[in-house]
């Protein structure tokens, strides 16, 4: 049964693959060239980098929902991380970090040098996003990377619980984006995410900054929540 099923899946994949290749090779040239429209409207978008213009202005609504997806994944992880663990019980203090063993000292030294560099790079990428490759997400990924490195080097404990501060930090940037969107929708004659003339560049930078911080925290959360040790493996259910 299982073998037949596997074979079926493989055969279907091969058939679909052949069809896809044939169809793609047979494709006529497209009628609409959005790239031209992007270029034409780039001046009005507030930024000079077309990809950023699409991400935060022309299709900013997609981005609004996309960051929510990221956030929802974090919530989903939280429902798991804070279950079956003792961290929820009142009065629990995380154990102090153990003194670093010798082999981590190198890593810690590395981290102490690299992390400021990474934060700097993140800031640079955020700023660069307005006119060349880069932007909130890439910057946030670097920030998160810094967090991961600190954790690996034993300088930052894994997150066993999600405190109020982190909660606020992870949502504020997104909430700012949502509220900015709401403000644009509420403005007289305004539309959702239609930035007022002249304010686009400013607003995009503000939103990106907020997003960078929150997304950085969220992405770091992905790792730091996952790297928390399971209580001790004794919570196995049958």
């Amino acid at each position: 049964m299982k073998g037949v099923l596997d074979l079926l899946v493989i055969v279907l994949c091969l058939v679909l693959g052949a069809a896809l290749w044939w169809a793609m090779l047979d494709l006529p040239s497209s009628r609409i060239h959005l790239a031209e429209q992007v270029a034409a409207k780039l001046d009005a978008s507030g930024v000079t980098h077309p990809v950023t213009a699409v991400l935060l202005n022309f299709r900013g609504y997609d981005t609004l929902i996309e960051v929510m997806v990221l956030f929802v994944a974090l919530i989903g992880m939280l429902t798991q991380a804070e279950k079956g663990s003792q961290w929820l019980s009142a009065g629990y203090r995380p154990p102090p970090l153990p003194a670093p063993p010798f082999h981590l000292e190198v890593l810690q030294w590395l981290a102490r040098v690299l992390v400021p560099l990474m934060i700097l790079t993140a800031g640079y990428l955020l700023w660069a996003g307005a006119h060349r490759a880069g932007g909130a997400f890439q910057a946030a990924a670097l920030l998160a990377g810094a967090g991961v490195l600190l954790n690996l080097a034993g300088l930052l404990p894994a997150w066993t619980t999600f405190r109020a501060g982190m909660r606020a930090g992870s949502i504020t940037g997104l909430l700012f984006f949502v509220l900015a969107a709401a403000a644009t929708a509420a403005a007289p004659h305004g539309h959702l995410l239609q930035y007022p003339a002249g304010w686009a560049g400013m607003l995009i930078l503000l939103i990106e900054t907020g997003l960078t911080l929150s997304l950085g925290l969220i992405l770091a959360g992905f790792f730091l929540l996952l790297s928390a040790e399971a209580s001790d493996g004794s919570d196995t259910e049958e």
Partner: protein
């Protein structure tokens, strides 16, 4: 508000975020308040659609194809209204439910908010890539809600659900990529005439991929395997939300794409195939429901069967005479609405019963008829709708569908629909039968709050009264 459409998306986003800020288990009141406003907004939008016809809203002020458009026609209006109407009693129910049984409450409120935002956004979207993003938001929130139940069963079910939903949206996104590659646009409004004019092979493949992806998410047989454990294992308010609304979202997309953008591509063979899968779902789902020993699993399998009903629509609207197609479409939408109300009521009622007697075993329901009469009555009313008996909305739906089938001389589907109704009656009856027995020794009925009973009853009675007031729903549906 001139345009309620964007606010239907923004409001739940805002209250969900605030609920998250307030911390674990908090935010029930925010949800009730937010949903009340959303209900008003949805009613407002429906009113506008009914009087002025379909509405478009350009996000960012750019307009398609560069920007993203929101679009609300009668179908979207019906579903938006339905979503808020079903969700409001359910959040009231959920507050009372989690007050007694807090498992799974931790981030229930923010997740519910994002779920509703995703659904509203999905119903309003007129851009296939944007639809993909909303689908992902919807899928991940739903998975989070299922997983929050904890325990190996729900977590395993959630993970299976997650992988399926990712596979589904992956297929959908590949379809989007092919369509975008072919035409250079993602706006449905822009694409519709282009597809009408000329559709190369890639677009057919794209349509097929999108269809399969959405079928996976809608849990049509044989892609239903993930649904019963996920819906049956989650806390009752979550099961109700998922079974009543979430599977409908992807069905809505199939219907919309089938009717409009991809209308030139659809073939009778594909329609008949969907119909056959629907038939298989009805038979398989019903038989499995009859064989279940756990109450919530029975209801979950009933969802499998009822989803099958929705797909009987396609053979009736494809290449048939316009009158029959119109009737079938109305019937399909009525079935969707009636099932959403009834299934929400049914899961809520089951949740109340389980809370009260502390177990989920169909063979040991004796005494429910005397101790929880209102809840049992709710269950029975919901069952009435599922079985398509008058005066419920399900009856009107079945009437319209059968009219469509007989009008297009497809008598086979009539037999399927009729026997599907009988099978539903059989599994509903299995529960009622046990509930009418006398109390078993050792069963203790702990008292439950009246809010639990009445919010479920409200949903069930709406599914019933829908049968008498269906002209309003259909009137809204018709406004183009």
């Amino acid at each position: 508000m001139r345009d309620p459409a964007p606010w239907l998306i923004l409001f739940p986003l805002i209250w969900a975020s605030l609920a998250f800020l307030r911390g674990q288990g908090r935010g029930g009141r925010l949800a009730v308040a937010g949903l009340t406003i959303q209900l008003v907004l949805a009613a407002l939008l429906a009113e506008q659609i009914a009087s002025d016809g379909a509405r478009s809203y350009t996000v960012g002020g750019w307009g398609a194809p560069l920007g993203i458009d929101l679009y609300a026609d009668g179908l979207a209006g019906v579903l938006l209204l339905l979503t808020q109407i079903v969700a409001l009693p359910l959040v009231v129910y959920a507050r009372a439910y989690f007050a007694i049984h807090p498992d799974g409450i931790s981030y229930f409120w923010p997740l519910t908010g994002y779920l509703l935002a995703a659904m509203n956004a999905l119903f309003l979207s007129a851009d296939i890539f944007n639809i993909y993003v909303t689908l992902e938001l919807l899928g991940l929130t739903a998975v989070g809600l299922v997983a929050a139940g904890g325990g190996a069963g729900p977590v395993g079910a959630a993970l299976r659900y997650l992988l399926v939903t990712l596979l589904g949206s992956g297929a959908f996104l590949l379809g989007v990529a092919l369509v975008y590659g072919t035409y250079g646009s993602m706006s449905l409004q822009v694409l519709t005439p282009l597809i009408n004019a000329d559709a190369p092979a890639a677009v057919f493949i794209a349509a097929g991929l999108m269809l399969v992806g959405l079928l996976l998410k809608t849990a049509l047989f044989p892609f239903h395997f993930w649904l019963p454990p996920a819906h049956g294992g989650a806390p009752a308010p979550v099961s109700a939300l998922l079974s009543a609304l979430v599977v409908k979202a992807s069905f809505y997309l199939i219907l919309r794409l089938w009717l409009h953008a991809f209308a030139p591509l659809v073939t009778t063979v594909a329609a008949q195939l969907l119909g056959f899968l629907g038939m298989a779902a009805i038979l398989w789902g019903s038989v499995m429901a009859i064989r279940q020993t756990r109450l919530k699993m029975l209801i979950a399998y009933s969802t499998v069967a009822q989803v099958g009903y929705l797909f009987l629509l396609f053979p009736l609207i494809t290449d048939t005479n316009p009158a029959a197609a119109a009737s079938a479409l109305q019937g399909g939408v009525m079935q969707l609405v009636a099932h959403a109300l009834a299934k929400a009521a049914m899961f809520a009622a089951a949740g109340t019963i389980i809370l009260s007697i502390g177990r989920d075993d169909i063979t040991r329901l004796g005494g429910v008829s005397t101790r929880l009469p209102l809840t049992l009555f709710t269950f029975a009313l919901a069952g009435l709708t599922l079985a398509g008996l008058p005066p419920s909305g399900g009856f009107i739906a079945k009437w319209l569908l059968i009219t469509g089938a007989s009008g297009s001389d497809q008598w086979g589907w009539v037999v399927v629909m009729i026997s599907g109704g009988l099978l539903s009656a059989a599994y509903v009856c299995r529960v009622l039968r046990q509930a009418f027995l006398s109390i078993e020794a050792g069963t203790k009925f702990s008292p439950v709050s009246r809010v639990l009973e009445w919010s479920a009853f409200l949903l069930a009675s709406m599914s019933l009264l829908l049968g008498l007031r269906s002209t309003e729903v259909l009137g809204l549906l018709e406004s183009e």
